[in-house]
Every structure is written in C-alpha cells, then in structure tokens.
C-alpha cells in the first residue's frame, strides 16, 4: 500500500437475507455522499461462499472498490471469523470510516469489532454527516427515540457506526458501473471459531417482532375488560400489525409481558400507532418516541396520549374499535 492512498469508507456487506442486503445498499448510497465530502472511496466488504451475486450488486449500487473473500469456510455468518478478517484488513489498509447496518447481526458484531480496533462506535444511527473538520457526525437515538445524541469519534480511527435500516435511500442499480474488485484469499492462521452453529432455519412465516412492526395497535385499561381487549388482535391482524399493551393491562393478565410497551418493556417505531384507551403515563409513552403517525382513541380529550396524537378520536375505545374493524373489513382490498 502506498502512503498517500485515498481515504476509504468501508461498508460491511450484510447480505444474509433480503432485508439485511437492502441496508447494505442504503449504506453504500450514504457512503457515496460522504465520500464526496472527504474525498474518499467507497469500499464494500463481502465475505462468504459463492458471492459473485453480491459483488455485482454492490458494484451496480455505487461501490468503488470491493474487498471479497470467497471461501467455503465462510459459508455461514461467523462473528469470530469476520472479526479476525477485518482486524487484519483494517491494520493493513487503515480505513477512515466503517459503516455497518444495525441489523441484529450488525449490532452484535460491530461492538466487538470496534473494541478490537480500539475505536469508538455509535449505535443504531438515524443520521450521518461530515462536519467542517471532516469528522463523521453520528446521530443516535436514546430513551426510546425521545432524545437524539450527536456523537463523534475525534481521535481514533476508523470512525464506526451501526445505522438503522431505512435511514437512507439506496442508489438505483446501474450494471454498467465498474468497481475495482479485489478477490483476496482467506488469510492463513485465523483462530478457529469457538461458537458453533448447530442448526439454523429461516423463519417460515414473516416473524416480525413488535420492535420492528410497521403497524401497532396498543391498548390500555380504557378497553374495559379482557374480552374487549382481545378484539385489538383483530384490528392488528387486518392491518398486518402487532398488539401492544400498557403495564396495568399486562398486570391484569389481559396481555402477555412480551406485549408491554414503554420504559419497562419494548420501544417501538411503527409507521402507524393506534392507541386505544390509553391515558399516556410517562412509563408508557417513553417507548413511543419514534412512532411516525399516532392515532389515539379515548373518552377524555384531555388525556396525555390524545395530546401526543396526530389524530385524536374522542369516544369509547371499545366502541370505536368495533366500528374501525367493521369498516376496515369493507374497505381493505388485497
């Protein structure tokens, strides 16, 4: 490597499923923008077995360079293998920035990598830019997204961030694009992974968790009783969403602990949140900071939840729910 080589922004190629791969493309797109400002090249990392498809795709979506290792030993994702590989590559090539998608895998892998490279890492960023000094400015949410923190890694390199899926938009593919593709052999003497994959399967049905559901129907004590509360399931099903609950409702046994939304439970970020019969105690609303569009139904127009809503419907929660289900059944076209 020459001393005066170009700065490099690395994007970790997370491709194991469609969703993870889209995040990679989104990060390449953002890296292309950042690279213009700091005059860097965008380099995608791809480790696996039979990876030509991804080499082609990341080239078409904007990478300037690809570092690829294609080896049967990399057939399955392995945190330990990737750590050892990137540690060596980073020491040799000294990247300025490493971006990793905030997928489950990315959020498990990136912290160890940052530690191994003795550098800083911000988590689940919802914004990335470059300041006047050329530092990567990382915007990370905290307290259920009610707060945003602006984070920099001033003195250590690389600057690292995991980035929330959907934060950036991918560049449309262009199969005429060219990238420098470096096909590297798997290094010798890598330590044997200690965590063994016994079995894995792709979840058959789309197994989404409440944390990443795009529609959530939340219910509180204002639903009246357990039976009426259960009807929230029907609305959630119609909308392909999940049911969330407040703490009193979970304590009353109307809903499972897994459905608890708020400080003691899950933090959610749906595109649309329906809130039925919830007054809006801070313990609950602490988990709602990132709901994009909020519809609240409550008898009391003065309830906190109603004031936090985009649309506040005044009425008996169970009554409105009943009509909402009835009406949606008529209107939804598959």
């Amino acid at each position: 490597m020459t001393k005066h080589r170009k700065k490099s922004i690395w994007v970790f190629g997370d491709y194991r499923n469609y969703y993870q791969n889209r995040v990679t493309l989104q990060l390449i797109a953002r890296a292309v923008e950042l690279a213009k400002v700091i005059q860097a090249e965008v380099c995608a990392l791809i480790f696996g077995n039979d990876i030509d498809e991804w080499i082609m795709e990341y080239t078409a979506h904007g990478a300037d360079r690809i570092l690829a290792i294609d080896d049967p030993a990399l057939k399955n994702y392995s945190t330990e293998m990737y750590l050892a590989i990137i540690e060596r590559l980073a020491k040799e090539r000294d990247p300025d920035i490493i971006l990793i998608g905030a997928t489950d895998f990315g959020r498990e892998f990136a912290p160890r990598l940052a530690k191994r490279l003795k550098t800083g890492l911000s988590a689940d960023c919802v914004g990335l830019s470059v300041d006047e000094k050329g530092l990567l400015v990382q915007i990370a949410p905290s307290f259920g997204g009610n707060m945003l923190a602006e984070i920099v890694t001033e003195r250590h390199r690389p600057q690292m961030a995991t980035v929330r899926p959907g934060t950036f938009k991918e560049i449309p593919h262009d199969y005429e694009r060219k990238a420098v593709v470096e096909r590297l052999p798997l290094m010798k003497g890598l330590p044997k992974p200690r965590v063994r994959l016994v079995e894995y399967e792709r979840s058959v049905e789309k197994e989404h968790t409440i944390e990443n559901a795009s529609v959530i129907v939340c219910g509180g004590r204002g639903m009246g009783n357990k039976e009426k509360f259960k009807k929230l399931q029907e609305l959630a099903r119609l909308l392909g969403g999940d049911v969330g609950a407040t703490r009193p409702v979970v304590y009353a046994g109307w809903a499972d602990h897994g459905a608890l939304v708020g400080q003691a439970g899950k933090h959610i970020k749906p595109k649309i949140l329906f809130s039925f019969g919830i007054s809006g105690a801070i313990q609950h609303t602490a988990g709602l900071g990132e709901a994009q569009f909020v519809v609240a139904v409550n008898k009391n127009p003065q309830a906190t939840m109603m004031k936090m809503a985009d649309v506040a419907i005044v009425g008996d929660a169970s009554d409105v729910l009943h009509h909402m289900i009835k009406e949606l059944k008529k209107r939804i076209r598959e």
Partner: protein
C-alpha cells in the same frame, strides 16, 4: 461443581425526569430516581433459573453511581449471592468502550474464575446493546447476543435465538458471555422477606478506580472513544386533529381522511365505500 455466574446489571433513570448536563451533553444520573434496567433483570432471571437446577453462585456487578446500590440489593433479594458496585467519579460519562474496559477489570478482580457472564441485551436508556459484546471482547470470550433460551450440559452451553429472521441454535464451551433478550425469562418478584434481608443484612463490595489500578490519566488514554457533542429532544410534530361524534361516523370520517396513509403503511389498498359503489 458449583457454577460461577456473573450478571451485569445497570441502574437506569426513571423517565419521569430526564435531567441532562447541558455542558457535556450527558445524563445527570445522579439527579434522576433509578430502576433496574428491564433486560438486565431478564438476564438475572436466566441466572436464577440456572441456579434452580444446578449448584451455582451468582455475583451481580453494577457500574454506576452510589445509588446503583439499590439495584444490587434488589438483585440480592431476587436470589443473587454477592453484589459488587463499581463506582468512581472517574467513571462518569464513560462510553461503552470505557465501560466494558472497567467492567473487565472489575470481573477479573471480583470473580476471576467465572464460568458464564450474563448481560441484558440492551439498556432502555442509551440502547446501544454494545457493552455485553465489548465486555466479551475485552475478556476474549465466545459470546452470543439476544439469546432466548439456554441449556447447560457439562461444560457445554447451548443457546437459541431469533436474529434477522433466522432461528439459530449455537453451542460453545464455558467460559462464555451471553446477552439475554426480553422474549423469555420473565423476572420473578423479590419476596418481601428477601427484600428486607437484602437491605438490612447483606453487604455490597465497592470497587473504585484505584482498586482497579485506573488513574485519571489511564481513563483518558484507555477510556471513552466517542464524544457526545450535544443531546436534543426530538421535535414531535404532531397533527393534533380532534375528531368527535358517534363512533360509526367518526370512524368513517377518520378513514376517509387517512385511509391512503394507512394503506401505504400496510401495503394494501383501502378504498372508501362510496368510491367502490360508484365504480
């Protein structure tokens, strides 16, 4: 043989008040009433369930201000055996890099012969999910995040988890580190008698920076890599549109106005009846 388990727990501020240090952009934890981070409590429950089956000793470690003693006492009341508070002004404002370094030293000092470390998958305040994996890296341990279930046979640990839509079963040998998700291991309640004993009789070991050989200079050199430049409240731009009337008519009014928005979110077409009747 007794299993040596370590559970890392964090005290997080109750959200009712969020006092921020405007200058440093960090949270004034000292000013907020605290509670045990929910995921940490699930990790403790996982340890307690191991102890229900095998001879085991549970050491709980918390790094935080003096007030974090409360979550340690709560852990003792739930069934932990020993509690260690890692506490020093020098640790204030630590990022995950610094926190995991300090915890590593505390683990080596307080319980060097551990078999398994359990952490919550993430904290409800900063939500980085980084301290567990970084502590594993510090201690050069095999680690798995977000586990939902664990089984022990001999020195082998088998775990199950759901990540990125893959159901995985993984195995490793002790010693290891796991971070525990909130899908399973619903925390037990501390018995009242346990609470009394924990607050009255049990002692908590306090470890300071100098106990760990950490000076201000060492914290500056080995400590935080990231700097929080500023923290701001997310501006909520809410519509605040109030609809009232009979349930059926108000629902119609709502859907007429917002059905395209809902349709876009769920990827289905929602058409109003009128439109449908005309066509």
């Amino acid at each position: 043989m007794t299993l040596n388990l370590i559970v890392c727990v964090k005290q997080i501020p109750m959200v009712a008040e969020l006092p921020w240090d405007e200058k440093t952009g960090t949270l004034r934890r000292d000013l907020a009433p605290g509670m045990m981070n929910p995921a940490c409590k699930h990790a403790l429950e996982a340890a307690l369930q191991i102890k229900d089956k095998f001879p085991a000793k549970i050491t709980v470690i918390s790094m935080g201000p003096p007030a974090a003693e409360e979550v340690l006492r709560e852990s003792l009341a739930m069934g932990a055996d020993e509690a260690v508070l890692v506490c020093d002004k020098l640790f204030a404002g630590s990022d995950t890099f610094a926190t995991s370094m300090v915890l590593q030293k505390a683990v080596k000092k307080a319980c060097p012969k551990f078999d398994l470390i359990l952490c919550g998958a993430y904290t409800a305040d900063s939500e980085t999910a980084q301290v567990g994996p970084q502590l594993a890296e510090e201690l050069k341990l095999p680690s798995v995040a977000y586990i939902e279930k664990l089984e022990i046979s001999g020195r082998t640990l088998r775990v199950r988890r759901l990540v990125d839509n893959f159901r995985e079963t993984l195995e490793m040998e002790f010693p290891a580190l796991l971070t525990v998700s909130m899908e399973n291991y619903k925390p037990r309640y501390a018995p009242l008698a346990g609470l009394e004993t924990a607050f009255r009789d049990k002692s908590i070991t306090v470890i300071t920076a100098s106990d760990l050989g950490l000076s201000a200079a060492a914290m500056a050199a080995k400590g935080s890599r990231t700097k929080v430049r500023q923290v701001f409240l997310r501006k909520a731009q809410k519509g605040n549109i109030l609809l009232q009337g009979a349930a059926s008519s108000v629902v119609n009014e709502f859907l007429d106005k917002y059905q395209s928005k809902i349709g876009a979110a769920i990827g289905k077409s929602i058409e109003s009846r009128k439109l449908h009747d005309e066509t």
